[in-house]
């Protein structure tokens, strides 16, 4: 019996063109160090644009980018919108959670309609893990897919802006110990961060949380697991706090907000376990007094606002790389189609 092939949906191949260029950006898994570094380097060229008088480059001129948000998110959507506009793209924002699916339209129908409008790129957030993989397997070669967060699975642009922040402020990954703290179980950000840190060669990746929010299986993603802040933060260079969703604060996962803050909230006192020059990050929006103390969030070690501005540069980098990979692939396909036509003509002649 022949083995089953997954060519259409396999994360190991679906994101890259035949010659290894970025084509979709769905997850960190299946990419490689060279591509991650190319993203960081490309972002470097965009990062100071916010301070220039003309905040535009023409890399996506004439392209249509559709922000397809099946889950609400003002912040992430705004940074994608800004990134696309700075690349000179036309941008369409669609809040799908309120329109199409409510009318019973299937996901595939929605996509086909948007494709028919001549879109070149979909930036997608969806509540189901793997939704973007499914979408990437369904769209024509004319559309590039950027994952803006799928279920618990991945949030690769967030992870890359975090990597950018770390590289810019701490340098060489191989010398760094990084701790990620909080609700790991439900976090697509944490999953993408762990993959990116390992791919970039971080010395040590640590995850800290109570066992209800930190299943043992995370060890197999290449992380050391800690249940006590005192142990997990010891000697780390980077502390990344995760947002704790309101609805998870009471019930069977955690007894109370207060106990969580007491054990895992990042206070000035707990930050002292880390190296004195450690940086503090958070994907936002932050819950002050739930996962982080205001004095830490606004303190000298915090890079939370820098992350936001780097986020635009990272999204510009990913979008321009994906469009270029997509264009390249299309040209190659046209060439090979032309070639086979020519061959046929020759054969028939």
């Amino acid at each position: 019996m022949t083995s089953v092939t997954h060519s259409s949906t396999d994360p190991r191949t679906v994101q890259l063109t035949e010659d290894g260029k970025l084509r979709h950006f769905l997850t960190i898994g299946g990419l490689n160090k060279a591509i991650l570094e190319e993203i960081l380097d490309t972002a470097d060229s965009f990062v100071n644009m916010g301070e220039q008088s003309v905040k535009k480059v023409p890399l996506l001129r004439g392209k249509t980018v559709v922000n397809l948000f099946f889950e609400n998110s003002t912040r992430t959507r705004s940074t994608f919108e800004l990134a696309a506009k700075r690349l000179s793209a036309d941008v369409l924002n669609l809040d799908i959670s309120k329109s199409a699916t409510a009318k019973g339209e299937t996901l595939k129908d929605t996509l086909q309609n948007l494709e028919a409008m001549g879109s070149d790129m979909f930036v997608i957030r969806h509540a189901d893990s793997g939704a973007q993989h499914f979408i990437a397997s369904q769209v024509t070669p004319n559309v590039a897919i950027i994952n803006a967060g799928d279920g618990r699975h991945a949030h690769p642009t967030q992870a890359m802006l975090d990597m950018y922040t770390i590289r810019k402020h701490k340098g060489d990954f191989s010398k760094l110990k990084v701790a990620i703290v909080g609700d790991i179980l439900h976090s697509r950000v944490a999953r993408s961060q762990v993959q990116a840190l390992n791919m970039l060669g971080a010395q040590e990746v640590r995850l800290i949380g109570p066992k209800t929010l930190l299943p043992a299986t995370f060890a197999e993603m290449g992380a050391k697991l800690y249940t006590r802040m005192e142990d997990g933060l010891k000697d780390v260079d980077v502390v990344i706090m995760l947002r704790l969703q309101k609805e998870r604060m009471d019930g069977a996962l955690l007894p109370s907000e207060g106990e969580f803050y007491r054990l895992y909230g990042l206070t000035t006192e707990k930050l002292n376990y880390a190296r004195p020059d450690a940086i503090v990050m958070h994907p936002g929006p932050i819950n002050r007094g739930v996962e982080i103390e205001s004095a830490v969030a606004d303190g000298p070690q915090s890079l939370i606002l820098n992350q936001v501005s780097y986020g635009i540069a990272i999204r510009m980098a990913v979008m321009s790389m994906a469009i270029s990979g997509q264009t390249q692939q299309k040209v190659q396909q046209q060439l090979s189609a032309q070639q086979s036509e020519d061959d046929n003509e020759e054969a028939s002649a």
Binding site: M1, T2, V4, H6, T9, D10, P11, R12, V14, G29, T106, L107, K108, H126, D128, S129, G130, A131, H133, F134, Q138, D150, G151, R152, H153, A154, R188, R191, P215, T217, F218, E220, M221
Partner: protein, 424 residues
Amino acid sequence: MKLTICGGRLIDPAQQLDEVIDIHIADGRVLALGQAPAGFTPERTLHAEGLVVAPGFIDIGAHLREPGPSYKGNLRSETKAALAGGYTSICCRPDTSPCIDSSAVVQQILDKAEALGQAKVRPIGAMTKGLEGTHLSNMAGLQHSGCVAVTNMRNAIDNTLVLRRCFEYASTFDLRVVFYPEDSWLKGEGCVNEGALATRLGLASVPAAAEAIGLSRVLHLIENTGVKVHFGMLSTARAVEMIANAQKRGLAVTADVDIAHLIYTEKEIDGYNSQFFVEPPLRSAADREALRQGVRDGVLSAISSAHLPHEEAAKMAPFAAAEPGMATLETVLAQGLSLVEQEIISLPQLVERLSTGPAKALGLNSGSLSIGQAADICLFKTDQTWTVQHGELFSAGENYPQKGETLSGQVMFTLVDGRVVFER
């Protein structure tokens, strides 16, 4: 109609037969093996040289989609698919729409199946009204109208006292229960096996303990009530071990594993391929090994199809939003033969797990070709290669994950009550 099947290799585990021998059939029954009786002149002779002749396969728990939405399948399409897969009897599951919890629905299914004259249909009734897990169904009435067993499918009966009452009531009529063990709380929204892969993919998972806990609860109640229970679609190593121990203690329990869990592991879902979204979820390689061992040892005395046909759109969604299930009736034999090819089980064992095993588990008087038995027979060619694609398949289900693959082993003839109802 008098018929002779000559020159085939008859494998009948019930008679411990595995030899080239002729079969003579009259009036829908096996009349003689070997020498034709004096004066017997067949109206048709099937030349079965190079074919395996086996008791028609019997399935526990295929979904035949009727009554219910016809775009997912119906009795005509699915019993035809059954014949093409070598099945002559299907004990169909009750979660139809409406569900099989009344004699009227049973009668409707039986009448239609009889009129179609394809595979025999032996419904499994709902154990509770509406499969809701709170009120006992009219089990005696269901049995009287033709149900061979009752089940609550994977719908939870959270109240253990209700479950005990179900067992007590069923055992009153010596009615068998088919049980799919799973702790509904631990399952929650889970759709894949708990482990590193589920963690990486960010999919909600079902721990193996959900099956063990569900099973343990039922085993205790079996000891209490003496009900005869067949466990369906086991997926974990621990469950196989628990069944083996229960059988050693002398409990009257049987169990099956469905074909997908014998062939695949959770690895298939990497890449979010929703064709491999099944319930219970595909498990680890160690679980699959234990299930294969269980089939070899006979702890698992049946292999079920878990056939659950869907239209194409049902799978066209992100993994967890797709509908679970796999269409299998027409690929079970070929996939089972791949286990024979790999020397995991023998060919007679495969035939036994597909015919005699399920018949015994549900107390059916079939699954053997001894003299006087109904001539429900399938003839298959073990090395016949075919491609899983439109034109080869009869099920309305579009969810054969093997589409495009070439498999080895195909049914050439199927006979029900001595009539050739399918030939390729």
